[in-house]
């Protein structure tokens, strides 16, 4: 079912080589944003052009690909990117986290623990964690180079001053190996602890912003906080309505016009894996 009119995984070999060089540099300097010559992809910016290019550069014919969008395997973005690589690379695809060798994700880290040999590719809209506080790229690059990260704490300070606690719930800034401050992409802060000491390789691609950064396996990643307002991974305080899990990140789903709602695992694979094993939530049919 591979479309032979395309080179393997859509991009030409020179481009993949260029992207791989950026990935290697990123892995060598964890958390550092490496500029790369992002290509036009057959999808709009903001739909994962960065992640797709990184996936295309790391895929081999033997890989098994999984694509998730906010944790789900069956949403538009996930289905079309999976279809894209089925057609242009002919690689096997799966929805099972543990069977996949390359997982492209938008805004979640799978609940199942990742293993050595797996690659997690994040789609990143805005790679610069300091961007909303300092609009000048020249200035933010200097701040990274000189480790001037006071401004990042100003953002957290403002959160506490305004809301009484750190209200940043996603894209929560982290410090990598005590050096670079990094945007973990808009994953919920619930997922932040999973970034650290992860056995899998984590790659981040921002297509429109033309940046790639990376975390090699077992990298120390700390979420920024204050001594008297420590970081807290938070989630909705409910069990999953379908599988009853109490330790997974939940989506709130409105079920009718009267405001009835249910909470379900955002990681569909995790939820579907648990249900046949006898785990039932209160809303399970």
């Amino acid at each position: 079912m591979t479309d032979r009119d395309y080179n393997f995984a859509y991009l030409d070999e020179q481009t993949k080589k260029m992207i791989r060089r950026a990935i290697l540099k990123g892995l060598a300097i964890p958390g550092y944003q490496v500029p790369f010559a992002s290509r036009e992809m057959p999808m709009p910016y903001g739909w994962g052009t960065g992640g797709v290019q990184v996936s295309a550069a790391v895929l081999t014919p033997d890989d098994t690909l999984k694509v998730i969008d906010q944790g789900a395997d069956d949403t538009t973005n996930a289905v079309s990117i999976r279809g894209f690589f089925e057609r242009t690379a002919g690689v096997a695809t799966t929805t099972h986290t543990k069977d996949a060798t390359v997982i492209q994700t938008r805004h979640r880290i799978p609940e199942a623990a990742l293993a050595e040999g797996q690659v997690l590719v994040y789609q990143v809209p805005i790679p610069e964690p300091l961007r909303f506080l300092e609009p000048r790229e020249t200035e933010t690059r200097k701040m990274h180079a000189l480790e001037e990260y006071g401004l990042m704490h100003v953002k957290l300070y403002e959160d506490i001053a305004r809301h009484g606690h750190i209200a940043t719930a996603y894209a929560y800034p982290v410090k990598v190996e005590g050096r670079y401050v990094m945007d973990p992409s808009p994953i919920p802060k619930f997922d932040n602890p999973k970034l650290s000491d992860c056995p899998a390789i984590q790659l981040f691609g921002a297509g429109r912003e033309q940046r790639i950064y990376a975390l090699p396996p077992y990298t120390r990643v700390e979420s920024l906080d204050f001594a008297d307002h420590p970081f807290e991974a938070s989630k909705a305080d409910h069990p999953c309505g379908l599988c009853g899990a109490t330790d997974s990140y939940l989506d709130e789903v409105i079920t009718d016009d009267a405001g009835a709602r249910m909470f379900v695992c955002s990681d569909t694979d995790h939820c579907e894996d648990r249900q046949p094993r006898g785990h039932r939530g209160k809303d399970a049919a």
């Binding site: 506080l133 000189l146 001037e148 990260y149 006071g150 401004l151 704490h153 100003v154 300070y157 403002e158 506490i160 001053a161 305004r162 906080d225 204050f226 001594a227 008297d228 307002h229």
Partner: protein, 266 residues
């Protein structure tokens, strides 16, 4: 009045500026400017628009690289060091610890979208403060010292009046206890009663904290109130310098005479 005749004794100077020159193509920004600043001393630089006083200040404060010259600062740890040839991380570190820079326009020196407390706290967090309660206490303390109600700590600085923004900028700069403050027209654009209060505040802070300061202004009344010594600039060069009262009461150079006689008598 402090004895300033002994300016050859560079061992004790906090800041020694030697032969600072900056050209913009064929045009001269400032040429061959030298002066010493001693601990606790306030130096005024006056001159008309385009005389090179802001260029000089930016070169000395490290915001701009001079074409020639040295700026030797008596650092806390390393003794006298030339800040022009110092590495950029070291210079920027000075810029947020021992040095402070008060801009003419508060919006150049403040983050307008950030609360007053955040603005004051930024320098503390930049040097490693990580305790929210402590940062807030020090911000509150400094807001009070510059006469801003502590109830306004969470208001964005864009909601403050011009005079309050300028006072907030001063609090933000002084919170880390700098030893040297650069000020570029600190009272520019403020109405006279607000100017008077700001000058009063500055004078108090300079005395209390034993600050050394370099103040650039075109307002002779400001230097008369604040500065111990005065330098008069014209076309990028220093034409006259000396004790403030001496220069203003008995100007020697033609240009200084013109400047002093141009002040409107109220």
């Amino acid at each position: 009045m402090r004895d300033t005749t002994d300016t050859t004794d560079t061992d004790t100077a906090l800041l020694s500026v030697r032969g600072i020159t900056k050209r913009y193509g064929a045009h001269i920004g400032c040429a061959d400017v030298s002066f010493d600043l001693f601990p606790g001393e306030v130096m005024g630089i006056v001159g008309e628009s385009g005389s090179g006083k802001t260029t000089l200040l930016n070169c000395v404060a490290g915001h701009m690289a001079p074409d020639a010259g040295e700026v030797i600062f008596d650092t806390r740890d390393g003794g006298p060091r030339d800040t022009v040839t110092m590495s950029e991380p070291e210079r920027r570190m000075l810029g947020r610890t021992d040095w402070a820079f008060v801009h003419q326009h508060a919006r150049d020196g403040l983050r307008m979208g950030v609360s007053a407390g955040g603005n004051v706290g930024e320098r503390l967090m930049a040097v490693g403060a990580r305790h929210y309660g402590d940062i807030r206490d020090r911000a509150t303390d400094w807001l009070t010292r510059v006469e801003i109600e502590s109830a306004r700590i969470d208001d964005r600085s864009s909601t403050f009046s011009g005079g309050m923004q300028q006072r907030l900028q001063i609090a933000r700069n002084l919170v880390t206890g700098p030893r040297l403050v650069f000020m570029d027209e600190p009272t520019g654009g403020l109405d006279v009663s607000v100017q008077a209060r700001l000058l009063d505040l500055l004078r108090g802070l300079v005395r209390d904290m034993g600050l050394s300061a370099v103040i650039v202004t075109h307002d002779l009344a400001v230097v008369r109130l604040l500065a111990d010594r005065l330098m008069v600039m014209k076309d990028g060069r220093v034409v006259e310098d000396g004790l403030t009262d001496q220069v203003l009461d008995d100007p020697q150079h033609r240009y200084t005479q013109l400047l002093v006689s141009s002040v409107l008598q109220a």
